[in-house]
């Protein structure tokens, strides 16, 4: 791989990678069972340079911001590299947000350029507030021939002849603005620098190396810091290949493992559990003798890999299972939310190490990662090289808030010095997560200090964001909390949101009111819904400016009521 210590910016490193491995395949894009695109590093460069030149000719300059709203595909990475060549700042946005949310983040980030897909652009042009979109250059991919694009250009046609001027940046220059999911009321744009990324890449590839021929299956969204790193930068600076799937139907993902002999991939807990469920049901269908043999082989594999993974040997012992994964899988990475130890153990016993990690966008994502030497299912691993962690204000069980100091910690929150000052204190990033170190130096997590939940899909959900969905509910007042915030359990998993309600004098909680509440709840995406509600007998404590004192309210409820008071919706 490239020696990233030599580089000042991502653009420079990627530029050298494209020249170092011109004939290696860098991208494969598949749609169902059809391979759409296969690009070498040389092809990638030839596609990106005219795009970068066109952007420069249109006035895109160093430090200007370019947003990308796309599903995972080769055009995402090509657009990103073109921006980096121009010295621009990437604003990768989640394609699953609504058009209204996209417009709000585009305004907040002051993106001058927008790269997006046709169906997403169509939704944006139809959203309220579209007229205030300030982006000057909008490039839309895969627009049908007859489609009106309003003020956008077709991405495929936006090219200029001649080489772009490469604009180098320094390590502490901004590389991207990455929005942390969930807002707690305002967008949290983490400003990540070139140094953040270069340091993170160095640390991760030291643990899990890439090289030409390695194939990474990119199924987490590339706007997220994890996939940006291990599904783009990491493979590219090592001459490896990224595989994109335009559809994530389980049957096509299974095919991709085999067709492309995948080496690594990252998953969120929900997907891994789904995979486990599928495998277990296949095992249950085996005849008794075959099941007995499989169980013996798994037990033998468990013994032989006690100290560390032995992937080659596991592939021999459990050849059919590994064949289903393509026969080349070295590890899966999981994080973003609580992962049940039994699921991790299940895969490790099959000889497929799942490396459980922890981090936040504010730290370029990864702070700790399991190296599986030996395998631990009960921790999120040790700090990455270059990351210092400490536990603040530990209680009698040595559990306290995890704080991090590293060259991978973000510069600041965009346009929010107060929040930045609360979050990075004396050079330490306060994560808001509760944990402790064990004797082996592994971090174990025990809950959150903040009033929020993380879904199985790795999304941060702040209760304040959910409350607007219930505006107009005919009660005196209400507030949404993470159940674990009111009734701390000192462990992660099974996170849910609950609503506390204060009725008007003389009001009863009728079936009509319950149905109104349930109907509003159903309009939310499933992962944002409240699981239940309960009624309190006194007014909420408020500040002089009438804001709810959430901490005090949660504390009062926790002391006087049991979680069994929650009525399920």
């Amino acid at each position: 791989m490239l020696d990233l210590k030599k580089y000042q910016c991502l653009g420079e490193a990627l530029r050298d990678a494209l020249d170092r491995w011109p004939n290696e395949v860098c991208l494969i894009e598949s749609d169902r069972d059809r391979e759409r695109t296969r690009l070498t590093y040389s092809d990638f460069k030839e596609t990106a340079l005219p795009l970068a030149r066109a952007l420069q000719d249109a006035g895109f300059r160093a430090g200007d911001r370019a947003a990308i709203i796309m599903t995972n595909q080769s055009k995402w990475l090509i657009s990103a590299y073109a921006v980096m060549l121009c010295g621009g700042v990437l604003v990768p946005l989640d394609y699953k947000l609504t058009a209204t949310e996209h417009l709000a983040l585009l305004a907040h980030s002051q993106a001058k350029v927008l790269f997006t897909e046709f169906h997403l652009w169509r939704a944006i042009t139809q959203a309220p507030g579209f007229d205030s979109l300030a982006a000057e250059t909008i490039l839309v991919t895969e627009a049908p021939g007859s489609a009106g694009l309003v003020k956008a250009f077709r991405w495929e046609d936006y090219r200029r002849k001649g080489s772009p001027e490469f604009i180098p940046r320094k390590r502490d220059d901004w590389a991207s603005i990455v929005y942390s999911s969930g807002t707690g009321g305002q967008p949290k744009g983490c400003v990540l620098t070139n140094e953040n990324y270069l340091e993170q890449c160095t640390a991760l590839t030291a643990l899990y190396p890439f090289w030409p021929g390695v194939r990474y299956l990119s199924i987490l969204p590339t706007n997220h810091a994890v996939d940006f790193m291990v599904g783009f930068i990491g493979p590219f600076v090592c001459g490896a290949t990224v595989v994109h799937l335009r559809t994530l139907r389980p049957e096509f993902v299974r095919d991709a493992f085999v067709r492309y002999r995948i080496t690594y991939l990252s998953l969120v807990p929900m997907v891994l559990k789904n995979l486990e469920r599928g495998l277990r049901s296949k095992f249950d269908e085996l005849s008794r003798p075959r099941r007995w043999m499989l169980d013996r082989l798994i037990a033998l594999n468990r013994v032989l890999t006690r100290g560390k993974p032995r992937v080659g040997m596991s592939r021999l012992l459990l050849s059919q299972i590994h064949g289903a994964f393509g026969g080349s899988l070295r590890a899966m990475f999981v994080g973003g939310a609580f992962m049940e130890p039994s699921t991790l153990q299940f895969f490790y016993d099959l000889g497929v190490p799942v490396s459980n990690g922890y981090g936040l966008t504010e730290a370029s994502t990864v702070l700790t990662l399991n190296d599986c030497k030996p395998f631990r299912s009960d921790t999120v691993g040790k700090p990455l090289p270059g990351v210092e962690l400490r536990i603040l204000n530990p209680n009698d069980d040595n559990i306290g808030e995890v704080a991090a100091r590293s060259k991978t910690v973000m510069s600041h929150y965009l346009n929010n010095p107060e929040l930045t000052a609360e979050t990075i204190v004396d050079g330490w990033l306060l994560t808001g997560d509760l944990g402790r170190f064990d004797e082996a130096g592994h971090l174990q997590l025990f809950g959150r200090k903040r009033n929020m939940i993380v879904t199985e899909g790795g999304k941060n959900i702040y209760p304040e964001d959910i409350e607007t969905a219930f505006d107009g509910l005919p009660v005196k007042e209400y507030s949404v909390f993470s159940a674990n915030y009111i009734w701390p359990k000192n462990k992660l998993g099974n996170e849910s949101l609950v609503m506390v309600v204060r009725l008007e004098q003389g009001q009863e909680f009728t079936s009509e009111l319950r149905e109104d509440l349930a109907a509003r709840n159903r309009r939310l995406p499933d992962f944002k819904r409240i699981s239940g509600y309960f009624v309190v007998g006194k007014d909420f404590p408020r500040t002089a400016s009438m804001k709810i004192k959430r901490n005090q309210l949660a504390e009062e409820i926790g002391k006087t009521m049991d979680q069994t008071a929650v009525v399920e919706l």
């Binding site: 394609y95 699953k96 559809t247 139907r249 389980p250 929900m270 997907v271 995406p525 499933d526």
Partner: protein
């Protein structure tokens, strides 16, 4: 091309069979995540079955923001 109501009925029938929920418990405006007890991955599985049944291709993005049977059926109908 079948009428929309027929498409909607077939969607409800298929969903009920796939996830073993009594057909009479499902209504067009129901939230299918809740009524079928499924997550987003299982919803993709439902989409594949619907594609095979109606012989259409539905890109994953067609499911974005969709959580009721009626809207799902309208997306299918638009491609018939």
């Amino acid at each position: 091309m079948p009428a929309f109501d027929q498409t909607l009925d077939e969607v409800l029938d298929l969903a009920a069979t796939r996830f073993q929920v009594p057909r009479e418990k499902l209504s067009p405006d129901d939230d299918f995540f809740q009524k079928l007890g499924i997550n987003s991955l299982q919803a993709l599985d439902l989409l594949t079955r619907l594609e095979n049944h109606f012989r259409v291709e539905l890109p994953d993005y067609e499911m974005q923001g969709v959580s009721d049977f009626r809207t799902l059926a309208s997306r299918i109908q638009a491609r018939l």
